[in-house]
């Protein structure tokens, strides 16, 4: 990819890793389990480390500057707002279903569904953060 800074390359790698790992978790697996959640976390960490290592090895100029930090903050802001919005939405849906009597807390899978829902929120926020940073780089800020 021409004219990409070190930080931009790492962001594209992060986004690719997030889409591959989270995508396979959320779209290929129908049954949730603690093992699959743990597997997803391990997979994303390992993949990120491998990709970052490769990019660091092939990139000679690894300078980061104030613009990189500004874009990073912008990404975190977008991610924070996303997770806050999803939390409010999730709590509102929970309240709505509780009021309607649709939630059976006796069911042992309810906990896993909650875990999966909270992970989905974090995943969406993470992808939003990375995508916002990439867009900021492409728009020069």
């Amino acid at each position: 990819m021409p004219s990409l800074s070190y930080r931009e390359k790492t962001l594209y790698a992060s986004l690719a890793a997030e889409i591959v790992v989270y995508g396979s978790y959320f779209f290929l697996h129908r049954q949730n389990s603690i093992n699959k959640v743990a597997g997803m976390i391990v997979a994303i960490i390992v993949l990120q480390i491998v990709l970052q290592l490769i990019i660091a090895l092939v990139t000679r100029n690894r300078v980061t500057d104030e613009r990189d930090r500004l874009i990073e903050l912008r990404g975190y802001r977008a991610g924070y707002l996303t997770v806050c919005g999803l939390m409010v939405l999730g709590l509102a849906m929970l309240w709505f279903h509780a009021e309607a009597g649709n939630i059976n807390l006796e069911n042992h899978r309810v906990g896993l569904h909650f875990l999966s829902a909270f992970f989905s929120m974090l995943v969406i926020a993470d992808i939003t953060k990375t995508a916002t940073q990439i867009v900021s780089y492409r728009r020069a800020l």
Partner: protein, 72 residues
């Protein structure tokens, strides 16, 4: 975009300096130099001083502020 304009490209060309040369002297990435030259990014005061110093001019010769018209 912001009302801060600059003459980085012009001054750099006069000195036959590449974007990478200027970036190395200032301590920023080449992409940041490109963004500054296109007036898409207004640097911090410290970086603006470093750019002016690297180009051998004063801050005012390198950066100009043009107040926006028609906005409160």
């Amino acid at each position: 975009m912001a009302g801060i304009r600059n003459r980085i490209r012009e001054l750099r060309a006069q000195r036959e300096m590449t974007q990478q040369d200027l970036a190395d002297r200032v301590g920023v990435t080449r992409q940041t130099v490109i963004a500054m030259e296109q007036d898409k990014y207004s640097p911090s005061l410290e970086t603006a001083f470093k750019v002016a110093l690297a180009l051998g001019v004063t801050l005012e010769q390198c950066f100009q502020y043009e107040p926006r018209v028609g906005r409160g």
